[in-house]
């Protein structure tokens, strides 16, 4: 038997996607509706009153990458964490653990499905945004790559969260109490250049600033921080998550007694 069982990985991937479609109202429609409301309120209504825009871009268009990232971080994390937490919670994880399936198949299945759902959401959100604001994507290829990278990284993070959590409360603490505030304060709705000191320097300590600005660069060709730094930090985060998950499978932490 080979080191990677593609059929097993495909089976997990397919089941996870089907679970998302089974709960489409919650996993697809709800985030799209929430993001649409942001576009209506901040992009069309308030943005329409802001003369001169922000960072040289119309305000409605300026917030598109930030809102997209807000959804990607939350949904990638939640989908992957829920995907692995539920079988742990119900006990159905026994089947995965007793199958000839290793870390590679498990990640390809769970994280691949969560990242795919995020990409589908991103496409729907960008399509929806075009009804409310005029925006352009300066580097579509890089934008796709960056969205994929962020989705995969935070799906990996969500997978770790789903293994760490031993209650539904813990499962929702990180997205609600950590990711959401960091994203709101990370330049989703404003350029950090408009912040006075010392808040501008404090904001640079928020990792989400680099993610938002990385994606914003792919849209408008300019941002508050260098694209190289944003990309480097995102890849570093991805590497940390992969290393931690490899350790989880090696030691069986919270998976095998």
């Amino acid at each position: 038997m080979s080191l990677f069982n593609a059929r097993s990985a495909w089976t997990i991937y397919k089941q996870e996607l089907m679970r998302a479609f089974r709960t489409a109202m919650q996993s697809i429609l709800a985030p799209v509706l929430t993001t649409t409301l942001y576009f209506v309120v901040f992009g069309a209504a308030i943005g329409g009153q802001m003369q001169g825009g922000m960072g040289g871009v119309n305000y409605g268009a300026f917030i598109v990458p930030g809102l997209l990232l807000l959804t990607l971080l939350g949904e990638s994390t939640s989908n992957a964490s829920f995907g692995i937490y539920m079988p742990r919670f119900t006990g159905a994880i026994y089947e995965l653990l007793s199958a000839p399936v290793g870390v590679a198949e498990t990640l390809a299945g769970f994280v691949g499905a969560a990242a795919t759902k995020s990409l589908i959401l991103a496409a729907i959100i960008l399509g929806t945004a075009s009804f409310f604001v005029d925006y352009t994507i300066a580097h579509p290829f890089y934008a796709f790559g960056y969205i994929l990278l962020v989705s995969a990284s935070f799906s990996l993070f969500g997978f770790i969260l789903g293994i760490w959590a031993d209650s539904f409360e813990k499962l929702s603490i990180v997205p609600m109490l950590i990711l959401m505030p960091l994203t709101f304060l990370g330049g989703t709705f404003y350029s950090i250049q408009v912040l006075p000191e010392p808040w501008r320097s404090v904001a640079m300590g928020n990792p989400v600033v680099y993610l938002v600005n990385g994606l914003r660069w792919t849209f408008y060709g300019s941002s508050d921080v260098s694209i190289g730094v944003s990309l480097g930090l995102t890849l570093f985060f991805l590497a940390i998550c992969v290393t931690f998950i490899a350790w989880i499978f090696k030691t069986g932490w919270r998976l095998r007694t």
Binding site: M1, L3, N5, R7, S8, W10, T11, I12, K14, Q15, R19, R22, M86, P87, T90, G91, A92, Y94, E95, L96, L97, S98, A99, P100, V101, G102, G252, R256, T257
Partner: protein
């Protein structure tokens, strides 16, 4: 006899310090039904978990199909199936899809005909499109069995397969398990129903507090450790055991109207019934009349209880 599973010196001590397995040695023969009996907390589920990859052993080795499971887990796990004790599965999934999922998870290509055969054999075909949560407890357990059979395991673990199942369904499952054995599947089952082990098993292992107390052929175990009990109802009560019966292991009940014989069995002695025949002759010779004889051999349950009480003593 070919050994399909060889467990040597297996220990498991949990993080809290509780030792669930204390150096277990066990061999399972190809094609047999092996019943592992033991009270709650004896270590049955831990032992199964260690073989199936759910529990990380503290020490010891597990060889399946002649290979080390620790080293060749990928190809060996593909040949092992598990039906867990708990009804643990995605309850919102539909029956046929859940079985197909299990087959794919173990790396096998779709085979609708085989899946249909499994579902029909377990009387689940009519429920193939039903959500698992809508099924009765017994049917849910059948779904778990179907999922375990989906990848055609050669070695199948059934952890209390008939717990919470009604009598009719239980007997139906016994028939299914017997059919699996006929097809060549080796089966290891844990159960609280000693009747189940007595009915199905070729060999029986008794485990308590992480130690295997005994492993033997079921019939041999019952013959070796079994006892014969005979209750002889007397026509007239006796004040005491007459001298003529002094050689027999008999006692009088409180009312002195029933003579109770407990004997036979033991190492190499199969003569309980024959001794009862001798006892009746002795009664006749002594002029003691009797009106009824109720004679029975001890069950596996009696042996199990005796062993556990002996172990606890």
């Amino acid at each position: 006899m070919q050994t399909i599973l060889q467990i040597s010196g297996l220990t498991k001590t949990y993080a809290g310090g509780f030792t669930a397995l204390k150096g277990v040695d066990l061999s399972i023969n190809k094609g047999e039904i092996f019943a592992l009996l033991g009270p709650n907390g004896a270590g049955k589920t831990t032992l199964i978990g260690a073989v199936c990859g759910l529990v990380r052993p503290t020490s010891g080795t597990i060889h399946a199909f002649g290979e080390d499971m620790g080293k060749h887990w990928r190809r060996l796990r593909a040949r092992v199936g598990l039906v867990p004790q708990e009804l643990a599965t995605d309850m919102f999934e539909r029956v046929e899809r859940a079985v197909n999922h299990s087959r794919g998870l173990f790396g096998l290509p779709p085979d609708p005909a085989r899946v249909e055969e499994i579902l029909r054999a377990l009387s689940l075909w009519d429920k193939r499109d039903a959500q698992i949560r809508t099924l009765s407890g017994g049917m849910k357990r059948r779904v778990l069995i179907a999922k375990a059979l989906a990848h055609e395991p050669e070695l199948l673990f059934l952890d209390e397969p008939t717990a919470g199942v009604d009598v009719e369904l239980r007997r139906d499952m016994w028939r299914q398990i017997a059919l699996l054995r006929e097809r060549g599947t080796t089966i290891i089952l844990t159960t609280h129903y000693l009747e189940e082990a007595e009915e199905m098993a070729d060999r029986v292992g008794i485990i308590n507090k992480g130690d295997i107390l005994m492993v033997d052929d079921k019939q041999a175990m019952m013959e070796r450790l079994g006892r014969t009990e005979a209750l002889i109802t007397l026509a007239q009560p006796l004040d005491e055991i007459p001298e003529a019966l002094g050689a027999f292991p008999v006692s009088l009940t409180e009312e002195s109207t029933v003579l109770c014989y407990r004997g036979g069995g033991g190492e190499g002695d199969l003569g309980g019934s024959a001794e009862v025949a001798e006892l009746t002759k002795a009664l006749t010779r002594a002029g003691i009349d009797y009106t009824a004889i109720d004679i029975h051999e001890s069950s596996l349950e009696d042996i199990f209880v005796d062993l556990l009480e002996g172990g606890a003593a």
